[in-house]
Every structure is written in C-alpha cells, then in structure tokens.
C-alpha cells in the first residue's frame, strides 16, 4: 500500500491548525482553562486573541501557536443564546460527566469524576487555550503575553494552568513512541497511506463524512450577531452554520502509573529463579501496547524491537497477522484501530467500518513536580478531535477499549486505557496472547492509568471565532 497524494481541497485558512497539524517540533505546550466573567469584555478579549490563533495552512511554519476551544457554558458566557447553544450535540451540552457517559467511558472507581481535578461539567470552565512553542523559555514568554491580555481584559480568569510537553524522541511516559498512527484528513493537502486517508467530515464540520453525509453541526437558529461571518448550512436548512471548519475536541487528563506498569510486566515474566527477565518484560509490554517501544509494528517485527526510528505505519493485519499471533487482538493499538481486520469481514468492509471510528490525537505528556523538583505525577494530556463524540471517541473507548469480549476474547480489556465493568464483582481482567500451540494468558491485570479530569469542547473555525466576537 503506497503513500498517495491528497490534494488540498478544504478551507485550511479557516481551520484552527491543531486539528490538522501535530506541531511535533513545538515541544513546549501549555493548556489554560479559563472562565469568562463578562460577556462583552470577554468578546473584546477574544477579538484581540484571534490574531494569535494559528490556521491549518501547513505551508507556514510557526514557532509560537495558540488555539482556543469552548465548552457550551463558555459559549453561553460569550453571549450565545440558549437556543443556539442547544443546537450543539448532546455530549457537548451534557458534558463528559453524566451517569450514562461515566459507564460508557469507565469513569467510576479510580476514575470517578468526583475525584477529578478539573472539568466534568465544572461550572466555570468556559474555554481551553492551548499554546505551543519550540521550548520552555519561549513558551513562558509567550504565555506571559497571552495571560496579560487575559488579565487586562478584566473578564477572563485563568482557572487552571496545565503545562505539557512532547519529547524530541516522541516517547510517552510508559516509554513508547506515541502519535504514529494518525489518520490523514482528506483534502488537507498532506499525502498519506491510502488506507489512512479518512473523509474530512469525520474531523471537520461542514464536510461529508465516511457515510457521505454532513455531520451534525451547530446551527444559528436564533439570529444574533453578524451572521455574514458564517456560511450557510450545507444541508440547506436555511440557517447559518457555526460549525463549519470547526471540530469537537476531547480533553482527558490521564495519569500514568509508570512504575506500576513496568513492575507488573517484570513480575509476570520473571525467570524461574525469580530474577527479572527484561527482554521478556519488554516483549509483554509491547504485546499489550501493540508496538515496540521504538514504535515499530509487531506485525512487521514480531520477535524483537528493531530500534531506531519508527517503521512505516503502512501495514494491515488481515494478510500478515490474521490470528493475532504477532500483534494480539486485545492489544491497545489493534483494538483501537483494527484497520483491515475488524471482526472477520473482508478487508474492504473492515476498513470501511474502521474509518468511521477514527480520531485525530493531539496530546502532550505532563509531569507534576513538587517544590523540590521531584516528580509527583506524570501522564498524558489526551486531546483528540472528531466530528461525532458518540461514534468516534466514545465508541472507541466503550466498544473497543473497554470491551471485554472483543473478537474471541472473554475477559480482556485494553491493558493501557481499558476499565473493567463496574458491576463485575471486582473480577480482574486478563490479557490473552494468541499463539501456538495454545494461547497464553496474563491474569490479574491492574489499572495503569487514572483519569484526573476531562471535558468536551468545540474548536470553531476562524470565521466562526470572529462571529462569536459580534454577539
């Protein structure tokens, strides 16, 4: 399967850059959770802030970027009417934290939103500003400028600051190369493997999705503000579309228990004399993740990590690993992006189904340090974009990551991000390694991550941002 061209056909100049660009070289990041205390003044601040927002035109190379997304409460806080706010999808309106959604996402037990540090329908969480810079000093300088604008506005309070970073080697806290398998947005102008080019409308509103339909988009049915900024609804409803060139953003702060993860892998693979077998421990961890630490695919390199730079992401399971002997069915990677081997369908049907449940990941690592500079917590600021929370992010977490009975599995959840069912009498999950002569099982899987906060946001297009300043 070759990398194919993907001619530019979407309005990149109107799309916030983070949706289509990973900014892999901008290693220092900062997430500012803010509240608006006065609608008119907050709109004034937004007007000033918009020139900082980077667009998706990847022919430009910025060293400092800013992006902004809003909760429904934030849109109300800017003055969008209740009727217009109610035109947003239900998950946005309800927030990430509802009883049903908690069950779907596994937000109970250690992940209980009652224990979250932020989000989960927090009343004063109105928007998330995301800053990227080449390094920490330049980020600090840029952040000071942005924060001053907020303070000067007299209407924008920072309620939480969350620093993040990317490592130059691309590794996340468990030590695995992250962010390799990403979809390519059709029409973005970026070439990609044929099977990874996904319809624009899976990530951006106002374009057709994999069903050949326009995704549900927030319309302005209660006219307010300068509607000239907004395009007409592509579905010909006669209303203006606030969503076009925007995307829905998921943000979850995921603490990673790094020591616990590695100790577990070592314990489960010890030599008969009780000593640690590092090679076996690394292999088990790789089987759980679905890739080697270098990022190399288990399908292409089943026995040993080749090291070096990550291998081409251009592979399928159907032809080379139908029975999961190389990359287990239950591994994090395979279950969350089954590619051409979803269930037993033919490759074409599998890809069709898989492409309807993709997300664009844009996260960063984080480390919390105490006053002496000692790390107290590490993890991932998981950020992803999709056009349909329920069919994409929630589907992946619920139907794939938390699914104990995917394919032939009987009690296996995603070792990395899965959560065992609440009503299951505390029965622990297992991890099945398909193989010959018989499958092997790793029992008593622990939880290696904990959700510390999260919320659903809307990241508007640039014209829509300007519209919001006119309310």
């Amino acid at each position: 399967m070759a990398v194919v061209s993907n001619p530019r056909s979407i309005e990149l100049y109107d799309i916030q850059g983070l949706v289509t660009r990973g900014y892999g070289k901008l290693l220092a990041r900062l997430y500012l959770m803010i509240e608006f205390t006065d609608a008119a003044k907050a709109r004034g601040w937004l007007k000033e802030f918009i020139p900082h927002v980077d667009d998706a035109d990847h022919t430009t190379t910025d060293k400092l970027t800013a992006h902004i997304s809003f909760t429904c409460k934030g849109l109300s806080g800017l003055g969008l009417s209740d009727e217009n706010v109610n035109n947003f999808p239900i998950p946005m309106r309800e927030s990430m934290n509802t009883p049903n959604r908690n069950r779907l996402l596994g937000d109970y037990g250690d992940n209980d939103p009652k224990e979250w540090l932020w989000g989960g329908n927090q009343s004063n969480l109105h928007a998330c500003v995301i800053l990227h810079a080449l390094d920490k000093p330049s980020l600090d300088k840029y952040a000071a400028e942005i924060k001053k604008m907020m303070t000067d506005s007299g209407a924008v309070n920072i309620i939480r600051e969350m620093p993040g970073f990317a490592r130059a080697d691309g590794k996340e806290p468990f030590g695995f190369h992250d962010g390799i398998s990403q979809p390519t947005i059709k029409g973005s102008g970026r070439p990609g493997p044929e099977n990874d080019i996904v319809a624009t409308g899976e990530f951006l509103l106002g374009y057709k999705n994999q069903y050949e339909l326009y995704p549900f988009s927030p319309l302005i049915t209660d006219p307010q503000g300068d509607l000239n900024w907004l395009p007409a609804d592509a579905n010909d409803s006669g209303h203006k579309d606030l969503g076009r060139n925007g995307s829905f953003m998921v943000f979850r702060q995921i603490e990673q228990y790094v020591d616990k993860f590695h100790t577990f892998m070592e314990e489960k693979t010890k030599n008969p004399d009780g000593t640690v077998n590092q090679e076996a421990a690394d292999k088990l961890a790789a089987k759980c993740v679905g890739r080697w630490k270098s990022g190399a695919s288990l399908v292409n390199y089943p026995d040993k990590d080749p090291g070096g730079l990550p291998d081409n992401d251009d592979f399928g399971y159907a032809d080379h690993d139908r029975f999961g002997h190389r990359c287990p069915y239950g591994s994090h990677m395979r279950r969350n992006n089954p590619r051409d081997s979803f269930r037993w369908y033919d490759k074409e049907q599998s890809l069709k189904v898989s492409k309807r449940h993709r997300i664009m990941r844009r996260g960063s690592s984080y480390e919390d340090l105490d006053t002496e500079g000692k790390m107290t917590e590490t993890g991932l600021h998981f950020v992803c974009f999709n056009a349909d929370f329920e069919m994409q992010f929630e589907f992946i977490q619920h139907a794939w990551a938390n699914n104990r009975q995917l394919r032939h599995l009987t009690n296996d959840i995603d070792v990395i991000i899965g959560v065992p069912p609440q009503e299951n009498d505390g029965q622990k999950s297992q991890f099945t390694i398909q193989g010959e002569p018989a499958n092997e099982f790793v029992n008593d899987i622990e939880q290696f991550v904990r959700i510390r906060g999260g919320e659903y946001f809307f990241m508007p297009g640039l014209a829509a941002l300007k519209y919001l300043t006119t309310l």
Partner: protein, 419 residues
C-alpha cells in the same frame, strides 16, 4: 435438538390503572436488580424475557390506541408449557400485574386454570423472530461456559508443557474426557448450518411473487414514500428527558436491550411489513443460524410483533454493547435490511427504492430509533454477561473436541484459538 421458541402476549390495561401498573413494573427487576418482584430466575427454560408497557397513542388517522402490556420470552420447549409454568411458578407476580389488566380473573376466581386461560387468551403471534445462538438450551449455554472456563484453567496450568498444537489438543480432550462432570459434553451436537433445501423452497415461493414485489416497490417508491413524513430529527435533537429514561437502563451489564413501538404505515407499506417480517423469519431460521444477522454478530435475539389489530408493531432485542454500536453496526453491515423492516413505520427516514436512504442517514435514523424507544420495565437474560460470539465459540470448541471426527492441523489450531 431444542428450538428456542418465542412466547408473546399482549394484555390490555385498565386505563385508570396505568400509572399504578407503570409504578409496579418499575420495580419488577432486571439483570442488575435481582430484588424485583417478577421471578424470572425460576424459569430455567427462559433465555430472555421482558414485560413492557406499549404506551397509549393516537394514530395518524386520529384513532386512539389504549396502553397495553406486552410480555415476550424466548424459551426452550413449547409455548403453552411456558405459559402454564408462568401461572404455576409465579402466580403472585402474575396476579400483581394481571389485577391492572382488562379481563383478568376477579380476586375470588384466581386459580391455576383461570390464570392459564387468561394468559392463553392474550397470546399473539410472533411474525418476526431471529435467534443469535439457535438450537441451544439455557442449560447448554451455561454448561458450555463452565466447560470453557475449565479448559482455560487447564491450559494455564499446563503452560509450556506442550510442543505442538496436536499435543495440546489431545491433552485438552483427555482432560475433558477424564472428568465425568463433562460427560454431557460428549453428546452429539450438530452446529446449525444453512438449510439449502429450505432456501431453494424459499426461492421457489418468492420467484412467482416477483411481479408482485416489483409492483410493491414501484408503488411504495413513487407513492407511499412521496407522502410519508419522516420524523426528521437527528439523534442529537432527541429530547433529553426521553433520552435519559432510556439511558438509565443501558450499559450496566455486557448485554443491552431495546424495546421500540411503531405505528404501521397504511397501504402497500403495511403489506410490505408482513412480507419482509415473514422473509426475515424464514432467513433467520434457515440462513442466519451461525451467530450473525446480515453481518451483525452481536444480536442475541430480535423479535417483531404486530399489535393493536395491525396498527402498531414492536421490536425487541438483546445485543452486546451500546445502542450506538448496535445500530451503527447494523447500518454498516446491512442498512438495506433495516430499511425493509422499519421503512413501514411512521416517521422513518425516507427511503429510496425501499433499500436506499433511510438507515443510511445515520444521524436521522438514530434519532428516529431513540424516539420510538420505550422503557423495558422488566427484563431478564439468563446469561447477561456473555457476548454472542463467545457463546457461539464455546459451542464450536465443544463440537471440535467431540463431534467433528479427526481434525487436521489447521482445524486443531482453530479449535485451540477459541480457548
């Protein structure tokens, strides 16, 4: 071989008693609330069961339809035997429900015979019925689950002992043979297969009907569908209050359930409903017998009942995973099939040539589906934590150990992969 049969009852409700009955049924029980008053656990023949209220409604022609209770159970054995067991094993629960219903025996006149007579008088047909794991009894499904667990534990204990797949297979077989507990598993069980003679018969029946089917398609496409009014709301526009009532029952155990009540369109659409339900049932009995319905492998059962003198129909199903996954999966695999069976319902997204459009407008389809959904006040499943494919796999493993003659190396590997 025991067939899983459908028992369906529709019982008219005394209008003044509706709210009391609704309140009563809310405490009837479900797979995570074992303290409900209806003792489904006593009925060892029941795979799935539910009591729901089909709400009162006004048809498009202005006619009022009163509320009623619909009871549905998938049972091993004869329908009448199950109805008799209902009256025998759960007379108090039946009285509790029946006392709110039209025609139920008066207090002094309640005995086994009168209860059975009443229930039998409420029996209705089941024109559409699909079973995900057919021809297995409740006992067999539970037994095969235990056997599978035992084999897995045996495999874990013997990790690294076997050099070849055949060696592993022989050891597993010996383990099962040597334990008298699993003697029942040696008995011959024939996995359901596509019934080709019946399919040929199906073709012979349908072929002469082709002219009628073509006329039906033309009349519906150029007539009925032009005048039909789709509900036209996206799933994101379903009232939150209604949605919350449905979601409160969902995603708690592995299996989920759905109950929906629809008004039947009139004219040729009504005819098409009867035809396609008949065809679905036929295909379900003879083709879709291996754990998937039109490519969707997560449906434990699906049942369509025509109620209220043909003016409404209901759909019941138990499935693995969430509402969105279930219906999304179905659309991915066979939206055309959904269009044939649900196209006759009032408010369904407009179809083209019966099979196109409709469910493929997925946001609108899910919006329609949620709106038509009603609460399943009491529902039961004998194996609520089991996925359909796991049930199917366990039977296959058992038959591969005992009923399949000498397996070749590939077949052995396949069998072992099920552990």
């Amino acid at each position: 071989m025991t067939k899983q049969r459908a028992v369906s009852l529709q019982i008219p409700v005394i209008p003044e008693q509706l709210s009391a009955l609704t309140e009563l049924l809310q405490g009837g029980g479900n797979p995570w609330d074992k303290n409900g008053f209806f003792p489904f656990d006593l009925f060892t023949e029941v795979h799935f069961g539910r009591w729901i209220i089909a709400p009162a409604g006004t048809l498009q022609n202005g006619k009022h339809i009163p509320a009623s209770i619909v009871y549905a159970a998938n049972v091993d054995g004869a329908e009448k035997a199950h109805v008799e067991r209902l009256a025998t094993l759960a007379p108090d629960a039946i009285d509790k429900i029946g006392s709110h219903c039209v025609g139920y025996p008066a207090e002094g006149n309640r005995n086994l015979a009168t209860r059975i007579k009443f229930l039998m008088s409420c029996k209705i047909g089941t024109p559409g019925f699909y079973v995900g794991a057919p021809e297995r009894t409740v006992q067999q499904i539970k037994g095969e689950a235990e056997l599978h667990t035992a084999i897995r534990e045996f495999t874990i204990k013997n990790k690294g002992k076997w050099k070849t797949s055949r060696e592993a297979y022989d050891a597993v077989r010996e383990f099962v043979v040597n334990d008298p507990k699993w003697e029942w598993a040696h008995a011959k069980f024939k996995l359901p297969k596509v019934n080709w003679p019946m399919m040929i018969l199906f073709g012979l029946i349908v072929l002469p009907l082709l002219p009628f089917i073509i006329i039906m398609v033309l009349v519906i496409h150029f007539g009925d569908e032009k005048h039909s009014k789709p509900l036209g709301i996206n799933v994101n526009q379903v009232p939150l209050k209604h949605l919350e009532k449905m979601r409160i029952q969902e995603d708690i155990i592995y299996q989920n359930q759905i109950s929906q009540v629809f008004e039947v369109k009139r004219g040729m659409r009504k005819v098409s409903l009867h035809f396609f339900l008949w065809a679905t049932s036929w295909l379900a009995r003879n083709v879709y017998v291996r754990g998937e319905l039109m490519g969707t492998p997560t449906i434990h059962f699906a049942r369509w009942l025509i109620i209220d003198n043909g003016t409404r129909y209901v759909f019941f199903s138990n499935f693995d995973q969430s509402f969105d996954m279930y219906l999304g999966d179905f659309v991915d695999n066979s939206g055309w099939g959904l269009n044939l069976v649900y196209g006759p319902s009032v408010g369904y997204p407009t179809t083209k040539w019966l099979v196109k459009g409709g469910a493929y407008k997925i946001g609108e389809f899910l919006g329609w589906g949620r709106t038509m959904q009603v609460q399943s006040q009491i529902w039961y499943c004998a194996y609520p934590w089991d996925g359909l494919q796991q049930i199917v796999d366990r039977t296959k493993l058992r038959t591969e150990l005992f009923n399949s003659g000498k397996l070749n190396d590939y077949e052995i590997k396949k069998a072992l992969s099920r552990i």
